[in-house]
Symmetry: C2
Subunit: 363 residues, 2 copies
């Protein structure tokens, strides 16, 4: 099963092995959703086994096509017309801040330089993917004006639940819920976490009669970028919120942390692969082990990342120095990590569960 690895074995972080085919999906593999737009990134993706295939629900980021290097174009959904509006900025305008390549900050507010939707990719072997020509989910309401991002897929019985970030200048960053049984029709269930909240991952089964989700509220006033855990009777209404774990000052996860993959059951509890970023926005992955019956209890946590940006496709891109996961498969003793690299590519790596257990520190 490891026959497609070798090239990046020099990039070993504690026995994690990157695929030699990385990045396994690139922007040029994706057809744009609209002739006026080009695909600039295909990255953070939820993952599920569906029938005999591995299925990725990928975030595809698009920008308006722009032939004038002195201009900057931004776009958003006009909910009334259902069409995308394009607005032009002069890059030399001193009143706008474009130091972050993802954001245009103006005196009137923020714009995003790209708008994201979701696209499906399918594979028999988990590495070579066929990509749908049309979006699976597309922004369609006031909460999604600036796009939909970072889907996670939780399978509960025959249903697949998708949590995703909805971005809007009017309503901020909320997390919404959708569901599907066939990955053709998707039903939206509205906003499940109020602004600002992202990185929501729902556990794949009830624990003592309740659903659980990790989530990451944020507030720049209080500088919060911690992981919380919440309970629900029905996946739509959430409460009994408690702060689960914090950032660690000066560490690789000292700037912000957030749930990554959907947690999976191992003998010792629930294993969660989360992301942590430094204050310089360098994103790595770590692991945290939660109690089997009381998932608000931490048993063990990574002191060092299990993977950090080293390969060229992780270091350079739309927003470089980023490894970010929305989903893994845990199969045959291995954790198979699909991850967004540099906000541009999808890449793949494997690590043995035993290696993660050698690496996390018991509390």
């Amino acid at each position: 099963m490891f026959n497609h690895f070798n090239l990046y074995n020099t990039l070993v972080d504690m026995n994690i092995i990157r695929s030699e085919k990385n990045p396994i999906i690139k922007p040029e593999d994706i057809e744009s959703s609209n002739p006026g737009f080009k695909v600039v990134g295909v990255f953070n993706c939820g993952v599920a086994r569906f029938k005999d295939e591995v299925l990725l629900l990928m975030r595809v980021a698009e920008e308006p096509i722009n032939d004038n290097s002195k201009k900057l174009l931004v776009s958003w959904l006009d909910v009334n017309t259902g069409k995308f509006v394009v607005k032009e900025f002069n890059k030399a305008d001193p009143s706008i801040d474009i130091s972050d390549p993802r954001i245009v900050s103006t005196p009137e507010g923020y714009y995003l330089t790209s708008v994201s939707h979701f696209r499906i990719a399918r594979s028999k072997n988990g590495i070579d993917f066929e990509i749908d020509k049309k979006p699976a989910m597309f922004p369609e309401n006031i909460y999604e004006r600036f796009g939909i991002e970072d889907p996670r897929i939780t399978q509960i019985a025959d249903k697949y639940y998708i949590t995703y970030s909805a971005i809007s200048d009017i309503t901020g960053i909320t997390t919404c819920l959708a569901s599907t049984t066939d990955f053709i029709r998707f039903t939206r269930h509205g906003v499940i976490f109020l602004p600002n909240n992202k990185d929501v991952v729902i556990f794949p089964e009830k624990i003592s009669g309740k659903y659980y989700a990790l989530n990451r509220p944020s507030s720049s006033e209080f500088g919060l970028k911690d992981i919380w855990i919440s309970e629900s009777p029905d996946l739509v209404c959430w409460g009994n919120h408690s702060r689960l774990m914090g950032t660690r000052k000066g560490c690789w996860d000292g700037g912000r942390i957030g749930g990554g993959a959907v947690p999976f059951r191992v003998e010792e509890g629930w294993l969660e692969i989360y992301h942590g970023a430094s204050r310089n926005n360098r994103y790595c992955l770590g692991a945290v082990l939660l109690d089997s019956d009381i998932p608000s209890k931490i048993i063990a946590r990574s002191e060092k990342p299990i993977i950090e940006p080293r390969a060229d496709y992780e270091l350079n891109g739309y927003f470089g120095n980023v490894i970010f996961t929305c989903g893994v498969l845990y199969e045959e003793g291995s954790v198979k990590i699909y991850y967004g690299a540099a906000d541009t590519f999808i890449a793949y790596a494997e690590i043995k569960l035993a290696d993660i257990f050698n690496h996390i520190i018991w509390l």
Copy 2:
């Protein structure tokens, strides 16, 4: 019933009548909870009819006693010891910002200049109150390190539910739920709205089988200070969040808005007395009428405030130019408003329902 009004009838805003006994409760009426502290404010209060009395659950703000005018003392709860820690700042220190009298902003983060708890006041006539000598609820956990604020009381059958803001440097501003049947023992039900969220008011009955609450998430990144509405099966878990109403640029409620009193039923729907602040932090009250069966639908809204700061006790205090309500009684065709004035006093005013209806604008 209006015999105790007259002095402030010159301060008429659209037929609202302030009590001549205003402010009806002052800091000097309150015994401090601790010999090292003094009471600097008694203001935003929830209100309920309990047995044959009007009962207020009041926010009482205390500061460490400070004999040195060059120093500034801040305090917070050390959860491990259960005691309050006091920290000293030099007012001349150029690295700290004390331009807002409520906050000390330092390079390491924020502190509050006062810590709040809840105290009960009881009255037979709704104007002359007897005040408990001891706190009813006091900060006691990590979410409440910087105090508990702005309680609202919703009576559902024989139980009184209290929503309140819990303030913490670690967990931000969350809204928590407590309940009581006797106003002696209070049971905490944990965090019901994630940071940052305040101004949560729960409707007093189920509507089409669901509980509803207004709430105000905020994010300085996106500049959101709007009112949202959420649903719940059990008062603990909340979802199906939607944005109910926004601020109005350039108006009295152009800076931020938030739920005020617990909504009450009138023939035409649910009436909510909310607060709106301008960008200069001048707080007034307005009214909004929501559909009886679909409370996420707005029927009418104040164009102008129903009351704005004019009296001396509203203009001057710990934080002046503020009228803020957490509760009203709707009795005999009148809305009896208990409100915090200048973050220092509790004041009282009445307005006839008919006058509110003459004032709100149908959409």
